[in-house]
Assembly symmetry: C2
Homo-oligomer: 302 residues x 2
Amino acid sequence: MSSESTVGFIGLGNMGASMAKNLLKKNYPVIVYDLNTEAVNALKESGATSLGSPVEIASKAKTIVTMLPSSPHVREVYTGKQGILNAVQPGSLMLDCSTIDTAVAQEMHSLAAKKNTVYMDCPVSGGVVAARDALLTFMVGGEAGDFEKAKIILSHMGKNIVHCGPTGTGQAAKICNNMLLGISMIGTAEAMHLGKKLGLDPKVLAKVLNTSSGRCWSSEMYNPCPGVIEGIPSSNNYQGGFGSGLMVKDLGLAQNSATATQSPTPMGSLAHQIYRIMCNQGYDKKDFASVYLFLENMQKSS
Amino acid sequence: MSSESTVGFIGLGNMGASMAKNLLKKNYPVIVYDLNTEAVNALKESGATSLGSPVEIASKAKTIVTMLPSSPHVREVYTGKQGILNAVQPGSLMLDCSTIDTAVAQEMHSLAAKKNTVYMDCPVSGGVVAARDALLTFMVGGEAGDFEKAKIILSHMGKNIVHCGPTGTGQAAKICNNMLLGISMIGTAEAMHLGKKLGLDPKVLAKVLNTSSGRCWSSEMYNPCPGVIEGIPSSNNYQGGFGSGLMVKDLGLAQNSATATQSPTPMGSLAHQIYRIMCNQGYDKKDFASVYLFLENMQKSS
């Protein structure tokens, strides 16, 4: 492949490392950067090259994927002293797969446009297994023409590539989804816990919910009550999965957007507070289904 | 059929009338009672006979189905001056399909047992269309042997007949389901409304939710945002369907059970309060998906 096809990849966490590997599998030359040198070395063993900063990546690659933990990291990687935008080549396409504030995504897009480049918000849904198997869903915000170019790259890392609308709408869709996810996970935990206290067998209750109008992804695929579904974090002491700390971050982004648009979100706000309390009580590294355990513990101590 | 097969049916509302008709279709002799004489006359046209009180029904039928609006009605029909238990025949089977307080169901069961009869809680899920088409789900609480007898009758009115456990667990399963339903409906309304304010097309957002972890019955089958799904109450000015007034009743039952068992249900409690406010603001006869409209109106007036 020509050097035009080189992809810069910044952010090699659990998600990013798998995504970069999937680009390598499709024979793209990939140049990586991460603060964590172990993560960089692992990618080099898979065939990537590396550089010492985002700005160096930007001078070598016209397609750049970023997969970072939160808004401040994105700001630093794009606009910091060693940031991408200091050396980005005109005509470059930057695909930011991080889940961040809609307003920050819009700001990055504006700054990128001043350099005759395109920044698109492309947050993902699906978790580490979907990242490994290239089965992610990408929610993309930006112009239709740019979306077609983005899709070529993203389709090597995911299965559903959805154009959500103008810049920022990818992030908007992601935080709306995760707000509803947080709400329905806590709701499922409350219903399962109450049912158990009322004498119901958790498996029987799950069966009733899943054939009735209470069913949701959290009750069907990720039931928070231990033992109802094997092979998921709730049946493994809430290890692995999607940490409560990440959920509280996403619910905080939803609250920022709700405040900016004066949208009432009473349940979203309560979900945010519940996960914040959980994180303060030591649940931050546990899977977010551990809200079931939190409810049990809250009862015991009362 | 012998007179042993006669079924007494008390409570001929939207649900009960259809359920009684389905028993008539299976050639059961059905004796009906309701305060509403129009409802009684409609059933007589379908082949039922009628009597003037629950106590008279109890003296003629050893299988009795009750389908009543709430706990006080059940108490009156079973234990009132003209109540079933004044004349119930030993060996009778009483199937109460009403959605009521778990504690009231347990009390009725105890009183029935003193007369050498069986009272079972058999609340339903599925709504008026499922009632008409005999596709209801019955959640049944009681002894396994009694369940087998109940199933013979209930299977003429429903498709899924689930034995939930001992007396009261049918009601428990029902209120856990409806609590989760109320929570996820409000959550879906908040997410759809926030997304729209953030510039997302509601149909695109629904598609993202329904292929992601936010999906739930309310987003997939009963989306509260007008125009996303045709042929449901949200696309018909929230007419028909399941009224907010009924939802606030069920959420109140969940709160009673949560208090009785000291189970923390923060989201269930907030859902109850939101539907209570809605009912006080005139949404009680509108379908419960009208929480979307309520959020829109709360924004406009702020």
